[in-house]
Symmetry: C2
Subunit: 215 residues, 2 copies
């Protein structure tokens, strides 16, 4: 399955600027991207990176500096056109965000499986975002603004695509804010967790929920 | 499967005090409890409520005003004793928190299934808590302090129980803090979501993640 991984090379992870410098945010974002690409490949996906600028990775890279929604819709259109699909039975394509540092092959397997059954299978992000989906329905398009998960359910209904939700904490956890770093330390098994530990972050269980604090 | 649902009748949901009055927090906590009890029963579980004080619900109620860890361990001990289990092959028992307002029968099915295969199957909560588990291993005991999910993995390893993680956003979402209310509005299908809407809460997609704001 083709798996598009959008990645921003300019000002990545700006909401982590209270705890990480610009260089650190870039390095951490890259560690997460590498983890996601590995998990996708291990789950049997064929990753391609859809980046806003040049990025040196093994999988093929498409550079598109337009806004995320425009770039992803262009990639979806390209996929379905190349596929020659003109109706509701197309080869599935996945879009998996590059900041899903908790993604494992098992979690992605569940997403890919759901996407083989439903026209659109989607893993919601915490806070109503869309962290990952599989579409095999050429008329489906994205709109990443606001509570995009609910919008995408509506878009699927409007174009006549059936929809399946994928219930995964790992895929729901996009790493955007300082509170998310604790999830990486608790559940992460790859480079991103190692990067945080090397940068001095550790779990602090003093308050209600465990936080990541820097030593 | 016996499913123990711990429920606090005194000062429930204190971390929501910025957005809900004490009476409102009690009513909202009760709506969540009712949703959880329904989901457990629909998933084929036999719920019992383990409450710190009297509560008027259909399922059997055990009142135990000791701290959560002590009360749950006493209930686990009671279950395994009644079961006559003296070794590693006991009838499974589940513990599911009463504030899992997003819990669906499908999510609980996955937990119960995992708990039939592993000695201990556990759904982590966001922030490292333990939101739900199934144990069929009489020596397993809980300790809800701090990052309890990691502690429980260790306890399972120490007593020789094999451990399975259940990857569910619905079961990872315990409703403790104002940010969690958005999850209820986005994904909730029961009384708790209805209660929030009736109380004037709606989604606000202005910022990065969608928030629940009161109109």
């Amino acid at each position: 399955m083709e798996v598009i991984v959008p990645f921003s090379t300019d000002r990545p992870k700006s909401r982590l600027s209270d705890v990480l410098s610009a260089d650190e945010r870039a390095a951490f974002a890259r560690a997460m991207l590498d983890d996601v690409l590995d998990a996708v490949a291990t789950a049997g996906g064929e990753p391609t990176v859809l980046a806003t600028g040049a990025v040196d990775v093994d999988p093929p890279v498409t550079v598109d500096d337009r806004p995320l929604t425009t770039a992803v819709n262009a990639a979806l259109g390209g996929h379905f056109e190349a596929d020659g699909a003109s109706d509701a039975a197309a080869d599935p394509v996945a879009v998996v965000m590059a900041d899903l540092a908790l993604a494992t092959p098992a979690a992605l397997d569940r997403l890919f499986d759901a996407g083989r059954d439903a026209d659109v299978a989607m893993a919601p992000g915490r806070g109503g975002g869309t962290n990952a989906f599989v579409a095999s329905y050429p008329a489906f398009r994205v709109d990443y603004h606001g509570a995009s998960y609910l919008d995408h359910r509506e878009i699927a209904a409007e174009v006549g695509a059936d929809f399946a939700a994928v219930d995964s904490h790992r895929l729901a956890t996009d790493v955007d804010e300082p509170a998310d770093l604790a999830e990486v330390l608790i559940h992460g098994e790859g480079r991103a967790a190692e990067w945080l530990r090397d940068a001095g972050f550790a779990l602090d269980a003093d308050e209600g929920r465990v936080a990541a604090v820097r030593g």
